[in-house]
């Protein structure tokens, strides 16, 4: 009997490790209760029945979260194909400026970028800031601007809801040189203007001074309201730090796995957020 329980325990542990490798070491409120028991139960090596029970509970929790992931994928499919209309219509007044961060390797797949912008245009987003660290998107600027510079009516080839019509989009292309480097250059401008000449009054720099200096360098766009990150890492990859004080940041996964439904959901969720802007 003891030998059989050991076999069952080993199988459950192996399956647990498999789930843990994909879904982390545990989520949600259930873990908070379970981990308090863990130290007591698992320390008692002789009490195999309790250990088995503990791991069974662990397994059930992990299966629940696996099911949640599957449901999320199904939801995205249903929204994308128009079966679910919960996230329509969108109040795009709150998304005046959308930022998109793309991993530079993924940005080289220009067809994927064009499809993403196609979807955003159909949703009605008008101003987009495109960022990748190495400036790959900057090199594709002419192609993208030319494609989206004129208004188009519904695209029959697209699976997008025909109620949406594409809108003319304005782009800003940004790379790492527009981030920390730009701030350092702006600081140099201020030093040259106020601190090299011994006669002029030395001001105490304010945010307005640095903002004006950045404008002199060509940084004139407003802060993005919402920032989508496409790439393997949940990191904004050096997007100009000065401009994302209160920007909502959403990681969307790899660019090749983008989903129209998830974009709608993310924008809809943002439009429902109450922002305190630091207060």
């Amino acid at each position: 009997m003891r030998y059989n329980i050991n076999d069952l325990l080993s199988s459950i542990l192996a399956f647990e490790l498999f789930l843990r490798s994909g879904y982390g070491c545990g989520r949600g409120f259930s873990e908070d209760i379970l981990q308090d028991i863990d130290g007591k139960i698992c320390g008692q090596n002789d009490n195999i029945v309790f250990i088995l029970l503990w791991h069974v509970i662990h397994l059930i929790v992990r299966v629940i979260y696996l099911a949640q992931e599957v449901l999320r994928a199904i939801e995205s499919y249903l929204v994308t194909n128009g079966f679910v209309t919960t996230y329509q219509p969108l109040n795009l007044n709150r998304v005046k400026y959308l930022g998109i961060v793309i991993d530079s390797d993924e940005a080289r797949q220009i067809s994927e970028v064009i499809q993403l912008l196609d979807w955003l245009s159909a949703i009605g987003v008008k101003k987009v800031c495109l960022y990748d660290r190495e400036g790959v998107l900057k090199k594709s600027k002419e192609v993208l601007v030319e494609r989206f510079s004129s208004a188009k009516l519904s695209n029959e080839d697209s699976k997008i809801d025909p109620i949406f019509t594409k809108t003319q989009m304005q782009f800003e292309f940004v790379s790492i040189s527009d981030g920390k480097e730009a701030v350092a250059k702006a600081a140099n401008l201020l030093f040259n203007k106020y601190y090299l000449d011994g006669d002029t009054e030395k001001p105490f720099f304010t945010e307005a001074d640095l903002s004006n200096a950045l404008k002199t360098l060509g940084v004139v766009e407003p802060d993005p309201d919402l920032l989508f990150i496409y790439g393997p890492a949940r990191c904004h990859l050096g997007f100009p730090a000065w401009r994302i004080r209160y920007t909502e940041i959403v990681h969307m996964g790899p660019l090749k796995h983008k989903k129209y439904g998830l974009i709608l959901k993310a924008i809809h969720k943002y439009t429902k957020v109450k922002q305190n802007y630091g207060s």
Partner: protein, 240 residues
């Protein structure tokens, strides 16, 4: 990996050993930033203990306030920082935590400033973990004060404007008090998805981990989950 090999304290934290299972010692972040709401503030002591166990070097903390009265805000901060520092010194660890405070000290009352200096002085020799508390700190404000610090150096001829680059700029930010000024992992616990003007410069390549808010609050289990998720991600710091 044997969870006990992760810990610097072989005896203690037995209750946490099961939590550490699955984490990799060589992939641990050096600097973790926590955005804590008021409800989760009480968990800071446990999280600090976990950081010591897992050899995380820096834990920077940004606490939200719900009150708009500035004096009440400072008093609550006074209680919080004194409480954190006191709790840290009561922890049964061989190497205790070093507390540093960043933010605009010019607007903090003298009584609170004295407490801050006392805590910083008392804990400065501790080696295992540095806790950076942010009081009246903003990311843009930090960049501006770095500008002013460099401007003074330019005025005194210590540096030329053209010599100012990213590295020189970084050394003037308030996080210069730390050996690891740039966060590797940022965890926000209140269900929001922004960085709220905190360490804007420093978090260029930080992994962003946003926790959905629930009735049970942020706790040490969720902190371990965040570390686990961090270790599973591919980080290239902008490179290939």
């Amino acid at each position: 990996m044997d969870p006990s090999s992760l810990t610097s304290n072989k005896e203690g934290s037995q209750g946490y050993q099961a939590l550490y299972d699955g984490l990799q010692a060589d992939a641990m972040p050096k600097h973790v930033t926590l955005f804590l709401d008021g409800a989760s503030r009480g968990q800071l002591k446990d999280i600090a203990r976990i950081c010591c166990d897992l050899k995380i070097k820096v834990l920077s903390v940004f606490t939200f306030s719900s009150g708009k009265d500035y004096q009440n805000l400072l008093m609550s901060k006074h209680e919080e920082i004194h409480d954190v520092a006191t709790n840290i010194m009561k922890l049964d660890l061989e190497d205790l935590s070093r507390v540093s405070v960043i933010g605009k000290r010019t607007v903090i009352p003298d009584s609170l400033l004295e407490i801050i200096r006392d805590v910083e002085e008392t804990t400065k020799k501790n080696k295992s973990l540095q806790i950076i508390e942010a009081i009246d700190y903003t990311g843009r404000g930090d960049i501006i004060q770095a500008c002013m610090a460099l401007a003074e150096k330019v005025e005194h001829g210590l540096i030329q404007p053209d010599d100012v680059d990213e590295n020189v700029f970084q050394q003037e930010l308030e996080t210069k008090c730390s050996e690891f000024p740039n966060p590797d992992l940022m965890i926000r616990t209140d269900g929001k998805y922004s960085i709220d003007n905190f360490m804007l410069w420093q978090m260029a390549y930080a992994e962003l981990y946003f926790v959905e808010k629930d009735d049970f609050g942020f706790n040490k289990t969720k902190f371990i989950e965040a570390l686990d998720a961090y270790q599973k991600r591919s980080r290239r710091f902008g490179g290939k």
